[in-house]
Amino acid sequence: MALIEVRNVVAGYGGAPILNGVNIAIEQSDIGVIVGPNGAGKSTTLKAIFGLLKVSSGEVLFEGEDITNSLPDRLVPRGLSFVPQEKNVFTTLSVEENLEMGAFIRRDDISGTLEEIYAMFPVLAEKRRQPAGELSGGQRQMVAMGRALMSKPRLLMLDEPSAGLSPRYVLEIFEHIVTVNKAGVGILMVEQNARQALAFASRGFVLAQGQNRYTGTGPELIADPEVAKSFLGG
């Protein structure tokens, strides 16, 4: 059974639908990467899964159960977590408080998870009392990922985690994503850095105009001359 399965989803912001029948399926061991041109519906797909906009037809299944149009306060306890692209930290809260907010739904002891996050991102441990708004772009992205991992998700969705980061940080963030995946968390992410992201993707989805255009493993898609020509800049 797939960890997350999106079946023929049609969704939009009220006007004409942006997604016109998108299909996605990944396993818990997968890193799924959605690529495609601007306006293809990449971010919209993640938002539709996470209940941030209305799915008008089709269905979303998480571990075989229907979660279509469920809201985040139901999805986070089920094991889904989402890192938005922008404004993804609480700027006035300290780094540690940001992480605690990711665990808001948990009633058990969170100190162990907190230590795991600090072990993964040692720089955050140093800055745990500092307001997240004072951190650099790369460090903020770590706070955002850390916050999303605090709920112990089984699926982590990231919207362009490398956006606005320097090349050094892009590589570092991708390495962290692989680490998280090896620890048993399924990954579904949208990336602008298509070629770099597909290189380590076990499942790649090329969207265009709100529909699937190509699907395969990351390396397969990179090797496909059609995909390379139309979507990866030759």
Binding site: F82, K87, T92, L93, M101
Partner: protein, 334 residues
């Protein structure tokens, strides 16, 4: 020395009292703005409602023959605060929550709250009439006179019992609020939602619960502020309508959404008002012989007459907004 004692009575004591009341009101306004992003105009009338609830409870206590070593108005406060919090939750559920569900703009909610203001005022008048009432029908107001003869003063510093209670309760309340916002899971959730409501939702924070907690706190603090004002002066149906403007000024001056800013803004506006209406002539009198006639014989050397006290809040508001458009503590914008 008597001049200084006069100054302490008229400015320090009165400013602390007024500042405490404004601070409690402004904290409620700023919390509601932070969480729901609209200016809750009916906050002043929640204060009046809270004061009348306390008044009814005092009457009930007195009728039951309960006499306590503390003023009844203070003794009933926990019950009155709880009831006002329930009323605040009811107002939200009845009027604001349906509008939010329809995706109403902040301006719509503001106008709805003006409607709630008029409704609450009407309800209070319907049950209690338009007359002025006092909390001290059944007991006397303690007045403490601190003898100042040891520093050469012939007059005492005068403080009433309710005023002492008020200052003590405000200190305790501010400390409790601080601990709640910085230590508790829900308090941090409130700050998170005020910071970034979309991310709060994405994080799985129960935003509906945060909204309820916000109304509970705002309602309880409004009751406390209204009751204190009524204990200090008198109880009238339009009690808080006159106070809502300085309370808003305090919240904006402090930076909307900033709890500590609202407290600072409350005391700033409170002291500014008492300083502005203070008659500086008392400080001129001892030097009368050395001053030109026009100054020596001047009376009423206050910056503004008492009836124009309200303008002071707005002068401060304008000055602060010109210098720091988001308030003293960097606040939110709509």
């Amino acid at each position: 020395m008597d001049e200084l004692i006069f100054f302490i009575n008229k400015v320090i004591v009165a400013g602390t009292v007024l500042g405490s009341i404004y601070a409690l009101g402004a904290v409620g306004v700023t919390l509601i703005f932070g969480i729901l992003r609209f200016a809750h105009f009916a906050h002043g009338d929640m204060m009046t409602l809270g004061a009348f609830i306390a008044y009814v409870l005092v009457g009930a206590f007195a009728a039951l023959g309960i006499h306590l070593p503390i003023p009844l108005g203070v003794a009933v406060l926990p019950f009155a605060m709880a009831l006002t919090a329930v009323a605040a939750l009811g107002l939200d559920r009845g009027f604001y929550a349906p509008l939010r569900r329809m995706g109403a703009q902040p301006i719509t909610l503001l106008i709805a709250s003006i409607g709630v203001t008029l409704m609450l005022q009407g309800l209070v008048r319907l049950f209690f009439g338009t007359g002025t009432r006092t909390f001290f029908e059944f007991e006397t107001k303690d007045i403490f006179r601190f003898d100042m003869s040891w520093i050469g003063g012939s007059r005492p510093i005068t403080v009433t019992g309710p005023q002492l209670w008020m200052v003590a309760l405000v200190v305790v309340t501010v400390l409790a609020l601080h601990l709640f916002l910085t230590r508790s899971r829900l308090g941090k959730g409130m700050r998170a939602m005020s910071d970034n409501p979309d991310l709060a939702q994405v994080s799985g924070i129960n935003t509906a619960l945060v909204v309820r907690v916000t109304w509970t706190i705002a309602g309880a603090l409004a009751c406390m502020a209204g009751t204190m004002l009524a204990l200090d002066v008198s109880l009238k149906p339009d009690l808080a309508f006159n106070i809502i403007l300085p309370v808003f000024a305090a919240a904006v001056v402090g930076g909307l959404g900033q709890t500590y800013g609202a407290i600072a803004g409350g005391f700033l506006v409170g002291f500014a008002e008492t300083l502005a209406v203070f008659d500086w002539a008392v400080f001129v009198r001892p030097f009368r012989e050395h001053l030109p006639d026009w100054l020596a014989t001047a009376s009423g050397l206050s910056l503004v007459p008492t009836e124009y006290k309200l303008t002071v809040a707005f002068v401060i508001l304008v000055i602060v907004l010109l210098a720091r458009p988001t308030g003293i503590f960097k606040g939110l914008s709509t």
